[in-house]
């Protein structure tokens, strides 16, 4: 604070000179970093909201932010049990209050006991509070039919994103032709492309098959890999399941194929499974990569090196603001693991409230506990609502000429394909915008709906998409879908 005062004072009465830190001399890698989910269209949306507050007249009264996977922001209620325990942890005086159920108090007490000074305000161990890591391991074992999980392989993190970037930091190395190549799907969640750009890793894109409901074909993995070997050293394969933005839930066969491929080609597998509870389509089921790996036998389970990621931000909890998450590392070389442990220590520790919340997610009320009924009711309701909205979205979009929508099998988004008239594409180019950005910007200005253009996630050349969340409450969602339908028809007419 003192420094600022001095600098400001120094600014008086001195002629302007050029800046010290400029676009030219700053880190060149940063220029390639983009994160569309919070990119220019969102910034414009925020600006429009400001204008609305200031009384500027618009054809709409609110901006609907269907750009970000934030359930609570769209009105989804937090799960009572989770917040009860968090309240008890935050203000332990409440442990004396009879309105809190016993099972909530028990968990709060256990968490507090494990915290430094019995407070969630103390730093924790960098890897995360030990008893919580044990609970996570236990949860994984239960989920995966008894396959053992070692708490030492669990690293709690600030959301899954934190763990994903940490592992990438560990994996990316080499120079020139030996620079690490990382395989990631197109379309993908742009954290991956952003992190790879920042780390100066080589992004190896493999295309999901839009015609086959965004499924993954190992032949395509192979094609991408072999091409990449010409100019980099491919070492990592990232897969998001259920997918973001595409929502596909990989079949068990597909997961086996991917694991086989990873073993054959000596690739480290990164399995982003943050949407594991968000599975809606009939016939679809979540299979954890770890479970499948171990069920494939020791030839695979002892060899393939992998990290799986999970989070408190999605599923039925939607607790994005707490920044809770973890990763489990499998078959990592002990010396490398020691380095990983050192690397996470530089950030001190993940937020303790997020760790506490994660503990409840992996250790929810059991059938014999007082909070069970309410908890299950709330959880079921959230997931059922999402399933309903997933179907509704697919149905309605597919009635619009020019919009094709794959079934939303899981996750929280729809990624429909839009056909844009040539005139629109030309107009976009004139304005210096990518065509689907041009489309989405127009939608924002005319209808107050904020989506993210498909170009932010990657798509096949010549195709256009947008990503919309299915999170708004059903009635509002119906309205949004109708508005987009009307807009699309209008847009197509305008540029025909």
């Amino acid at each position: 604070i003192m420094w600022r005062a001095l600098t400001h004072a120094a600014m008086n009465g001195v002629p302007q000179r050029g800046k010290l830190l400029t676009l030219d001399n700053m880190n060149p890698k940063v220029k390639r970093v983009e994160y569309a989910v919070r990119g220019p269209i969102v910034q414009r949306a925020v600006q429009i909201e400001k204008e609305l507050r200031e009384g500027v007249k618009k054809p709409f009264t609110e901006v609907i932010k269907a750009n970000i996977g934030d359930a609570h922001a769209m009105g989804q209620k937090p799960i009572t049990f989770l917040r009860q325990v968090l309240a008890l942890c935050s203000y332990p005086e409440l442990l004396k209050d009879n309105q809190f159920p016993e099972d909530a108090k028990k968990r709060a007490q256990r968490i507090l006991e494990a915290c430094g000074g019995h407070s969630i305000g103390a730093y924790s161990a960098s890897q995360g509070i030990e008893c919580i890591r044990h609970d996570v391991a236990h949860f994984i074992e239960k989920r995966d039919g008894g396959i053992p999980s070692n708490p030492d392989n669990i690293y709690l993190s600030t959301g899954a994103s934190d763990a994903i970037v940490t592992i990438l930091k560990l994996l990316v190395s080499g120079e020139g032709r030996d620079r690490t190549g990382v395989m990631i799907s197109i379309p993908q969640y742009p954290l991956y492309s952003a992190a790879l750009a920042e780390l100066d890793a080589v992004q190896i894109s493999y295309y999901l098959d839009e015609d086959k409901c965004w499924s993954l074909d190992v032949k395509e993995l192979r094609r991408a890999l072999y091409a990449a070997r010409q100019h980099c050293n491919p070492r990592v394969l990232c897969i998001i399941n259920p997918g973001n933005p595409t929502g596909q839930v990989q079949s068990r066969q597909c997961i086996e194929d991917v694991i086989r491929f990873a073993k054959e080609e000596n690739l480290f597998l990164m399995a982003d499974e943050v949407y594991q509870d968000n599975v809606y389509a009939e016939g679809c089921q979540f299979h954890s990569f770890k479970k499948v790996l171990f069920e494939m036998g020791p030839e695979y389970s002892s060899k393939v090196e992998m990290a799986s990621f999970h989070s408190t931000s999605k599923c039925y909890m939607g607790e994005c603001g707490f920044r809770g998450g973890y990763m489990e590392v499998i078959n990592m070389d002990p010396e490398v693991k020691a380095q990983l442990t050192k690397l996470v220590s530089v950030r001190l520790c993940p937020p303790v409230p997020g760790q506490a919340l994660l503990d409840l997610v992996v250790n929810p009320p059991q059938p014999d506990e007082p909070s069970y009924a309410t908890f299950m009711k709330e959880r079921t309701a959230v997931l059922a609502a999402l399933a309903e909205k997933a179907k509704l979205t697919e149905q309605i979009f597919n009635t619009v000429p020019g919009i094709t929508c794959n079934p939303v099998q899981g996750a929280m988004y729809t990624f429909p394909r839009i056909s844009l008239p040539q005139k629109a594409i030309d107009k976009a180019k004139e304005e210096g915008q990518v065509p689907d950005m041009f489309y989405c910007m127009k939608l924002l200005e005319e209808e107050g709906i904020c989506l993210v253009p498909g170009s932010g996630f990657g798509q096949r050349e010549g195709t256009f998409h947008f990503r919309m969340t299915i999170l708004p409450p059903t009635e509002k969602l119906k309205l949004v879908l109708k508005k987009i339908k009307d807009f699309h028809l209008r847009f197509t007419k305008e540029f025909s």
């Binding site: 604070i1 003192m2 420094w3 600022r4 005062a5 600098t7 400001h8 004072a9 120094a10 008086n12 009465g13 302007q16 800046k19 010290l20 830190l21 400029t22 676009l23 880190n27 940063v30 970093v33 994160y35 919070r38 925020v46 609570h72 922001a73 209620k77 937090p78 009572t80 917040r83 009860q84 309240a87 935050s90 005086e93 409440l94 004396k96 209050d97 009879n98 309105q99 000074g117 407070s119 969630i120 305000g121 103390a122 730093y123 924790s124 600030t158 994103s161 920042e198 100066d200 909890m317 603001g321 707490f322 920044r323 220590s345 530089v346 950030r347 001190l348 993940p350 937020p351 409230p353």
Partner: protein, 489 residues
């Protein structure tokens, strides 16, 4: 397992709550207030505050959080705007403005992050050029808490040390900055100067003059200034040399000094380290560069909401007249007094122990006593394959259950460099318990100077704890130390 103690005293972290200081009631009440409780699971879900009135004599409704929730905040479970909940960012800017005697702080220059380290990492990312040759360099103080330097090294920066001056209470001296920069320019491309004020772990509060000199320095040498002020105790200054005077006018300087100032609610009396709440204020940066800084922060989504609340409350605590003020005030005063008393007591006791010397603690949460180990102890440490201060701290922990941090973790001058180091003592009254033999030699020419290579070793311990724990610590330390020095005499 039998040990001569029942409990470990862990004062190795800068973590008040771990050390036994209770969180402020007000802060935690506000946090709870943000949770809606749904107790009725019929058709109508009602949001009910779950607290019975006996438990909470103070109304929750006076909290400034209410203002915050109305506008842009939806739920503690939501992501927020990248830089933080806008109302909170504004209030932090207002807080900074007040602290700086009215010099305006702009909200668009502030980013709240999950701990100040994350913000520091993002700013260092902007400064780095991995492919550049020579490599990007950053001048950092010695001693320095190692998290910061490790983080910079992990990003590929060359860390160039400048030594703080122990004889002058760990002051930063401009000649040393010049020297460090000269030496740096041979091996890397220095782009930034990292300063910590108050010092961590030294506790030294930079004088205004020193800070002016540093501003001149970075301006002349075209360096970016990284000011780590996370250990700022807003109104807790122990010792006489406190000089947090807000300046209206400084010496004429160019307006190109570009600065990132880091702060946190982890420190100070709130001590909410576990909530992970920090922020950076960016001054004079190029607009285009700022756009890229936004992108870097945006891929982390946003800082934890509870941490943002803690920051807001640090910037806007209860005021006289608010229902929560009486309890808040009592709790704050309690902590303040305890820490000040602890500081005095620690320095007093430690300075009375043979071989120990402790600079007065002026700011920050730590005491940083130096310790002269007898040669026999140093030999024993070498035998065991440990640095001497690590050996001491390890034995202290094993035998007394007291956990403090050895100074070698922070960097210090090597024993072999002592000729020049001691040379600086000439003419000054020696504050150390250095033996007579060496003191006499100080009057001779340096070339004929021989001295027993005592290695000056340091440990760090957190003084922000309860008075009882501090007494217990000092007692155990005294007993252990007396025995240790006897064993190795």
């Amino acid at each position: 397992m039998k040990k001569p103690y029942k409990e470990i005293i862990d004062l190795s972290w800068g973590d008040l709550q771990r050390a036994g200081v209770k969180p402020l009631s007000f802060v935690r009440q506000v946090i709870c207030d943000s949770f809606p409780f749904i107790f009725f699971v019929e058709e109508q879900h009602m949001q009910v505050l779950a607290f019975s009135s006996e438990l909470t004599p103070h109304s929750f409704s006076d909290v400034c959080l209410q203002n915050c929730i109305r506008k842009s905040f939806v739920s503690s479970g939501s992501y927020t705007a990248t830089a933080g909940i806008p109302e909170i960012v504004h209030r932090v800017a207002e807080f900074i403005t007040r602290q700086d005697g009215g010099i305006p702080s702009h909200p668009e220059n502030i980013y709240i992050s999950a701990g100040s380290q994350r913000a520091l990492t993002n700013i260092v990312t902007i400064l780095m050029n991995r492919k550049a040759s020579p490599r990007t360099g950053i001048l950092t103080p010695v001693p320095c808490y190692n998290i910061a330097t490790l983080s910079m090294m992990a990003q590929g920066a060359t860390v160039v040390p400048y030594y703080l001056n122990q004889e002058h209470s760990w002051e930063l001296q401009i000649e040393e900055l010049h020297r460090a920069l000269e030496s740096a320019q041979r091996v890397c491309n220095p782009v930034a100067l990292y300063v910590i004020n108050p010092g961590n772990p030294t506790g030294h509060v930079q004088s205004r003059k020193s800070m002016q000199e540093v501003i001149h320095f970075v301006s002349e040498r075209s360096l970016f200034l990284l000011a780590d002020e996370i250990d700022v105790y807003q109104d807790c200054f122990n010792g006489e040399k406190t000089e947090f005077v807000l300046m209206e006018m400084g010496p004429p300087l160019s307006d190109t000094v570009e600065l990132a100032s880091f702060h946190s609610a982890s420190k100070g009396f709130m001590g909410e380290c576990g909530l992970r709440d920090g922020y950076v204020e960016l001054v004079n940066l190029d607009h285009t560069v700022m756009k890229y800084i936004y992108v870097l922060f945006s891929k982390d989504s946003s800082a934890p909401v509870l941490g943002q609340f803690a920051l807001d409350l640090m910037a806007n605590p209860p005021q006289p007249g608010d229902p929560s003020y009486p309890l808040y005030n009592v709790e704050m005063q309690n902590i303040r007094t305890t820490v000040a008393d602890n500081a005095k007591r620690a320095v007093e006791v430690v300075n009375n122990m043979l071989g120990f010397c402790c600079q007065p603690v002026e700011g920050g949460a730590f005491a940083f006593p130096q310790l002269h180990l007898p040669p026999k102890a140093i030999e024993k440490a070498e035998e065991m394959g440990m640095k001497p201060d690590t050996y001491y701290c390890t034995r202290l922990y094993e035998e007394s259950g007291v956990l403090v941090r050895p100074g070698s973790e922070y960097g210090q001058k090597e024993g072999t460099y002592h000729i020049r180091y001691i040379f600086q003592l000439t003419g000054l009254s020696c504050p150390f318990h250095i033996n007579e033999h060496i003191c006499n030699k100080l009057n001779c020419t340096v070339t004929s100077f021989h001295f027993t290579p005592f290695i000056f070793l340091f440990s760090r311990f957190c003084i922000a704890t309860s008075a009882d724990i501090m007494e217990e610590l000092l007692k155990r330390l005294s007993i252990f130390h007396t025995q240790f020095m006897e064993d190795f005499s």
